[in-house]
Symmetry: D3
Subunit: 243 residues, 6 copies
């Protein structure tokens, strides 16, 4: 747990500084601009008084997400997905992950028959855009829910625990918390861990493109992620205190 | 030139405050976040060492633009253009206008066989997103050009004059400078005026959906726009001084 | 106003001969084949007893337009827009202009809750297809309206003034009326002027891709257009007299 | 062969009057406007100095076709195929038929490594648009070939026989030649017969949506078509004489 | 009728062995896996309790078909149609043929206001996939209909005759029954004959890409097809006996 | 580990019977039809002598996958992805997983500059289609590699270990191995575990849509998966022995 020198001088178990601005887009019910190191994602929560067809008439709500990158979020410009009319596999995989993560902590019956549509638009991408999106989206979601409570549409915020996410990489058998882009590119194995503030697991994804990893690694990854998420949950709480 | 009381208390010939942040997206060759009242547009300039097929081998460059709105830039969420694979007629009309306006002040031979791709992404839309986009895009374009000069790729910034734009509306025969969204919705006739810092016209578009307007109006519109663009050109200069 | 010799021998302020055939497509409610020099556009007006969603229940009508070119309207074949499923930016810009121009002279309340769908299909393109489309579309629109009156669906033709359009170019500081393709290609600045028969302005678009133009030019452009539209309005009247 | 009274007073074995205008679109290498009764199709032939990938380097040419209808070719407006980005099954079926029919009479080696792209755009549709398209397309194709000969690109027109087409319907066991729209709608069985001027069969398509038909019918259908095509081949010859 | 030696040793008038497995996809209302020589097509029939808009409220049913090939049904992989969002012209032509063929033998009034959606997915393609699809689809359709009868939704199977199809080729003036891929590639003229078990014709398509064919050939083609379809109708009957 | 009675009578830690037919599609370089209980997937491996642009000239190969379902693989018909031109988020997520899993065990340098394109087409879907796809795709991949070795294109099969996958569910805090569709629908948490034959982890995905799960669960899931994969690796070995 030592040898590898990180490009930005961090310790192996040190997350990047996180900062969250609530209400950045003034016209949205919920909005959060999250910065995690050089990664910057704008998250919006939009309320709609209807649910998808498969839920109609059941009295329960829905949370869903879309994820996209501005063309110049990266070092070289990428073309817009509207040019092909296709959402890339990567974007789809990520937005499905964001949606599942938020639904896992939402009390759909308490939300009632309405949908929260989350939009995560990456303004700058320096690794960890999917985990930052989950963390920021939770803040936007809670802001929107608090508005519903203030408007007396629902009685309480129908969220069971805060949820946030962080990446962990394995590089030459060493663990690294919260990979930036350069590290992500180097890592042998890449984990994304989505947890609740009280330590429950919401989603765990570990994948190698290099060589298989051993089972005992998984417990170490989860422990590191749990520790690394502490300042992240703190940033969420502080951001929401100002609402 | 009197009766109409503007929603935000401005005089009829008073533009909204304008603020421009250069270099907002750090990974882009040129970047400007422009705020004009409640409208916020992120403009990026990307350099590519090639030109479209119809220009190849002629030693001259190209500038082109794309325009898009984040889903929650508006009061109600709009769906992403990637869902249909079509760029809306409105977006196309606007991005073609941005491209033409910038090309009109660029010395293509001095630029050489390279393309500058401009991206204007609207973060918040409160009227005048197309004019703000032109104003902001010019700043991003110049920043990118200055980088080329510093890298000694070209000898001088191949831009002939600063270019900027402002809207003018006619409402019950009175002129109003720089419409916000609520005013734009009310106006009978809507002009967009694109000018250079030395008073030349680059593009003039006036359209009514209500009733036809009289020829003498056009001269008054242009005079008001010329005056209203003064603080805008000043904001561009100041933003670029910091580069 | 002298030196430039026009390719087809016209004077600088002389429009091309215009001819309009009403009722060319027999199955349409309104139809006009307009020929303006070498440019030939087939315009159809189709009535539908419904309006777009945003107008439903308000008792008012709508007019909208589509514009397209046959693949071999030009010297080299262009591919069909159906191949990409995208309407080109140019087509969109033009069809939005046609729609706005016709709406500006239509009394939507008198039309009642119905839509007129205009189709402009360019059969031969020799410059000025957008202005010819507006001129021809007005004739098709009026024919369709006259049919509604004859069928006693509405009491009077709900059109307030005839509308027509013409282009004006600036080439080396000289004005040229009604550009053909070769002239359009050469011109420094290109104006499209849409006017009513009684001299009101409906839309004014002036754009340069070369160098900025001076404000006083605009009044001269409008005066020339007004004069040049006289034979065009006459051709409309004569064509409609035969209906 | 008697009882049925045709809507337009024709005898059962009488084709509609046919008229062909060569060179209608002046900018095309080959162009023919064909009118067959109330059906009107504009056919263009465009030359390209290349062949599809699967033929490259073999010294032989290619002929291919596209078919489309103007939105208001029919009694009620149909939407444009560009709106969906899909060519309808019907259009595809027809354009493949047109292409095969023309290829069957073209000497591809004599044409050399070039493509003729045929465009058939239906201006008015009153039945038999696919057969009129084949007949008109042949004329446009020959005009284009004659131009190549005049330009001394090839030595002789590389077409082996004129080709044309006509429909035959079976309605209550009676045959009807050259169905108009109303008859086509009523017919039990619909044949399209594509033949050469010397009586060879190029394509034969017979289909029922009502009940199966008996084998001996087929010979009678072919004999009627052969007879009915005589004035059609005559019209082709006369149109081409004027080139 | 002699000289040509077939690649698989068959006589000129000998069809390939045919085998049909009913109920291959257990979850479908009707399912048949048909193998005809090296060609393998999976056909499914799905019942829906509604009809297309143009039939609503008329008490009659509808049968329609889709046709597709697995990417590796052929010797070289072909890309999926979903990648372009377009159904190829060939697929469309074939699925329209399958739909028409089945509708011609279905009593739509007896079926009632419901749709049978047929899916033909080619698993291996060695020539004759369209004819095998029709033959297999009929079996799937009948199985679905028998289910409706067993469930007492309708009283009798609303199919008037079995329908099946076979190809006939002309190669150097000789006829060949049931072409495999290599023969199909060689043939001068290609016929597809769709018949009912009692000898009626449902669809007849003959096309040349080489040279025109003579009228007397057509009767010989139909006679050969009728004879060749005997074992095919037998295979259908045997497959359905086991249901 | 007891109470829950499985719908098909299996023990909680008992996988469904697995059967693999190698060479099902005869024209493919590699092909495997895998049946795992009621789930049936056809996997093909296609060799191409080129690599994607980002790998060109590096001497290394690539493995990629596509996943799709036949319309009637499920109890109610689903429409084809070609109708929208979009690959669903679910399909994309799955095919990316299949591709990563196979790449993790492939020696790309030993493969050389060629691509193996995997196609997984689901014929019947009863839960676990993504895990069955991975297991079957490995067999198709190895068959294709063995062909390359037999043709002496490469010296040895460039696969480092067999790879296979299985699902594990958590239902009311009890684990269940290899979920069928009905169980999958009920489960609170769903894991997919991709392992090599020697026990290494290639991919681990655990997600809840119900409530968060505890960290110690993860080790138990992995142990159960490892045990459950034993008969699956055996089936792979036996299938490949027959090649």
């Amino acid at each position: 747990m030592t040898g590898y020198e990180r490009i930005d001088g961090r310790l192996w178990d040190e997350p990047r500084p996180v900062s969250i601005t609530v209400g950045y887009q003034r016209s949205a019910e919920g909005s959060a601009l999250i910065e995690m190191g050089g990664t910057k994602v704008l998250c919006a929560a939009s309320l709609e008084e209807r649910v998808p067809a498969f839920l109609r008439g059941q009295g329960t709500g829905w949370v869903t997400a879309e994820y996209s990158m501005l063309p110049r979020a990266t070092n070289t410009r990428s073309s817009r997905e509207r040019d092909t009319g296709r959402v890339s596999g990567r974007s789809q995989e990520i937005q499905r992950l964001i949606g599942r993560s938020l639904r896992a902590v939402t009390d759909m019956a308490a939300l009632g028959e309405r949908t929260v549509q989350i939009d995560c638009d990456v303004i700058e991408a320096d690794g960890g855009t999917r985990t930052a999106s989950i963390t920021g989206a939770y803040v936007a979601l809670q802001q929107a829910m608090m508005m519903l409570v203030r408007q007396r549409v629902i009685r309480r915020v129908p969220l069971e625990y805060p949820v946030a996410a962080v990446s962990v990489g394995i590089l030459k058998d060493e663990l690294l918390l919260d990979l930036c882009y350069a590290e992500d590119y180097e890592a042998d194995v890449d984990f994304n861990v989505v947890m609740t503030a009280n330590g429950g697991l919401v989603e765990l994804q570990g994948a190698t493109e290099a060589r298989p990893f051993a089972r005992p690694m998984v417990e170490r990854v989860m422990a590191l992620a749990a520790r690394g998420l502490e300042p992240v949950f703190r940033a969420q709480r502080e951001a929401l205190r100002r609402v």
